[in-house]
């Protein structure tokens, strides 16, 4: 049975790009590099810390979402986050999926 974890995400203020909370308080562009949290308390603490990055004008609207840890990597539970991590399904040449 695969583990469900929480991941922090937001949009970068300057260009609106989707970013994920990485290690050591960084923000990363790839879901594969995101930090994940097994426990709710840990995740909430990371979300609270993200408020500083909002004030510092790095990101906007941070929130947590659920994902599964699979052998292939982190897989969001909701379609919305799958699309957010990759790009529009109808334009595979655009968004993060095009850079992979």
């Amino acid at each position: 049975m695969s583990e469900t974890v929480k991941i922090l995400t937001a949009n970068r203020l300057i260009d609106g790009a989707v970013v994920y909370g990485g290690s050591e308080g960084r923000w990363v562009e790839r879901l594969s590099e995101a930090a994940f949290f097994g426990g709710a308390a840990e995740a909430e603490a990371r979300l609270a810390a993200a408020a500083e990055d909002v004030v510092a004008r790095k990101v906007v609207e941070p929130y947590l979402f659920d994902a599964e840890r699979t052998p292939e990597g982190l897989r969001p539970l909701r379609v919305r986050e799958v699309i957010r991590a990759a790009g529009p399904t109808v334009r595979r040449d655009l968004g993060k999926q095009a850079d992979l």
Partner: protein, 553 residues
């Protein structure tokens, strides 16, 4: 079309500077996101799923070729080489960076365009009939009054922080191509007994969570009084509209709660009590000034029939098929209205590449007096093309995948961006449009089916106008899976109606089959080939469709 005078140019330049400062203050931390959000929304800048989205206003759907070229240029330089034409006649860019937006606005201002009030709780782009000025059934060109309302509503000091968004549409013809009964205020031009043009004003229409058809609040408003009367309606709404619940804040809810008679009474009291010295009259000289911009272009005197056009039709059956579906009669003999479909088989409805925009700009300049229209069904129009030029125009359109002969047919689908782009969506809409389009790719079959408007929304906000689709489809999220709910019999024209929910939602795998079954049911039930889907539906009702559809699935 309207051209900015020195005042308009100064205004839009000042507006660009204002937004530049607002972005600077935001980036410097002097404005929080909470304070900045309504300011950026009033400038059409959303934060969407992958990036910001910038919505450019195309006033009443009218563009010059120079403006279209600027839109193409911006798509290339600041975005990813394409744009999306919307169900409110506007254009959306899906990937602008916040830091670039002031420069984008500057480029737009240089061609007399802007993004003002394309979002936010203010009066939005005033939309109109895409055939305004060239349709035979028109009383008067409604765009004159659209422009008057546009200016009056621009940064209106009293009405910039309404309970919710406010959408106005104006049409000048009895055949309503502007969906005026689905707007917060819808206006139809009419003939007053004294021969002058007056306005029949409708209020309280809208889609979204609670779709409603607008009510007639006052018929025959004289020109002079139009803005004062709108002021009375807006003030009543601004004061009484709900501010506690986002989903109950539109004027349609207020009108529904009070009833149209009580609402009218309140507006009339407000109108009667308006301070006459401050009354905002629509001045005759200003109407005349704006009307001059909408004077007919220098049409040639042409015969109604054209031999060379007849030869073109005979020599090329594919061209003839396109003429049959996409070309409409013009009020001036020898001219025609060309509809450019942005719905190629399997394509993304309403999207156009920068190259396609340039092609349309060139065609507009060369063949259509430099004018292009955007329709609320996400297509484009060249309003005035000589019949003898149609073949040449079509040849160019074919080379750029702009000649799909499906106007108003089953594959001319209206779809919102949906979960592929939009933060608010629950389901994807574009892949469904693509699948349906591919299922009905055979143009002869589509032609045999006849007029059939399929409209798809990815969430209850109904930007795809699904409530008024002949077949409407609403994408929903059931426990993380996308499902599609079908409505039938909606209509946005003068006989406006909200579609009937037909039954339980369909899965992504089954929905296209379901649509095909509905079409087959119609074909079996229609009284004659000329009876359209909507006419058949209105004759037989929802039951035969419901029974047969759910029996089959």
């Amino acid at each position: 079309m309207y051209r900015y005078d020195e005042f308009d140019r100064i205004f839009v330049a000042e507006r660009v500077e204002q937004f530049r400062h607002q972005v600077e203050r935001r980036l410097a931390g002097e404005l929080t996101e909470e304070e900045f959000r309504p300011l950026r929304l009033m400038n059409g800048l959303y934060l969407q799923l992958h990036a910001y989205m910038l919505r450019v206003a195309v006033p009443y759907g009218t563009l010059s070729s120079r403006q279209m070229r600027a839109l193409a240029h911006i798509a290339r330089v600041y975005d990813k080489g394409y744009g999306h034409f919307t169900t409110r006649q506007n254009l959306q860019y899906n990937w602008p960076a916040l830091g670039d937006v002031p420069n984008i606005l500057g480029e737009l201002a240089s061609v007399e365009m802007h993004c003002l009030q394309t979002s936010g709780n203010c009066i939005r782009n005033v939309t109109s009939d895409q055939f305004a000025g060239v349709a035979a059934d028109e009383i008067e060109d409604p765009r004159v009054y659209c422009e008057i309302i546009r200016q009056w509503s621009t940064l209106h000091p009293e009405f910039s922080f309404l309970p919710r968004k406010f959408k106005i549409a104006v049409t000048g013809a009895p055949n309503d191509r502007a969906a005026i009964k689905l707007h917060d205020i819808g206006i139809i031009l009419s003939r007053l007994p004294n021969g002058e043009t007056g306005f029949d004003v409708y209020v309280g229409g809208g889609q979204g969570r609670t779709p409603m058809i607008a009510h007639l609040i006052r018929a025959g408003v004289p020109k002079r009084e139009l803005l004062a009367y709108l002021e009375a309606i807006l003030r009543t709404y601004n004061e009484l509209g709900r501010r506690d619940n986002l989903f109950k804040a539109r004027i349609k809810i207020l009108v529904h709660q009070l009833g149209i008679d009580k609402f009218r009474e309140l507006v009339d009291i407000e109108y009667a009590g308006l301070d006459k010295t401050a009354l905002v009259e629509v001045a005759e000289d200003e109407i005349a000034r704006i009307k001059a911009y909408f004077a007919p272009p220098p049409y040639k005197t042409l015969p109604a029939q054209s031999e060379s056009f007849a030869r073109d039709l005979e020599s090329d059956a594919v061209f003839a098929a396109w003429v049959r579906t996409n070309v409409r009669d013009h009020k001036v003999p020898g001219y025609a209205i060309v509809n450019i479909s942005l719905k190629p088989t399997g394509g993304i409805p309403g999207d156009a590449s920068a190259e396609q925009m340039d092609v349309v700009a060139d065609l507009g300049e060369r063949y259509s007096f430099d004018e292009i229209r955007v329709t609320h069904e996400q297509n484009l129009v060249l309003p005035s093309v000589e019949r003898t030029d149609l073949k040449a125009v079509w040849d160019v359109l074919v080379r750029h995948d702009l000649a799909t002969p499906n106007l108003g047919l089953v594959s001319d689908i209206i779809a919102c961006p949906g979960l592929d782009y939009c933060n608010l969506a629950n389901a994807r809409s574009i892949p469904l449009a693509q699948d349906i389009s591919r299922r009905f790719a055979d143009m002869e079959r589509a032609h045999n089916i006849g007029e059939l408007k399929i409209k798809i929304s990815g969430c209850i906000n109904a930007c795809g106008h699904h409530h008024v689709g002949h077949i409407g489809i609403l994408g929903v999220d059931k426990k993380g899976t996308e499902f599609y709910q079908v409505t039938l019999g909606g209509s946005a024209d003068e006989d406006a109606a909200v579609g009937d929910i037909i039954g339980p939602a369909f899965t992504e795998e089954r929905i296209v089959d379901a649509v095909e079954t509905i079409v087959d049911i119609y074909l079996a039930l229609r009284a004659a080939p000329e009876e359209t889907f909507l006419e058949t539906y209105r004759r037989v009702g929802v039951d035969p469709f419901k029974e047969k559809l759910y029996a089959a699935h």
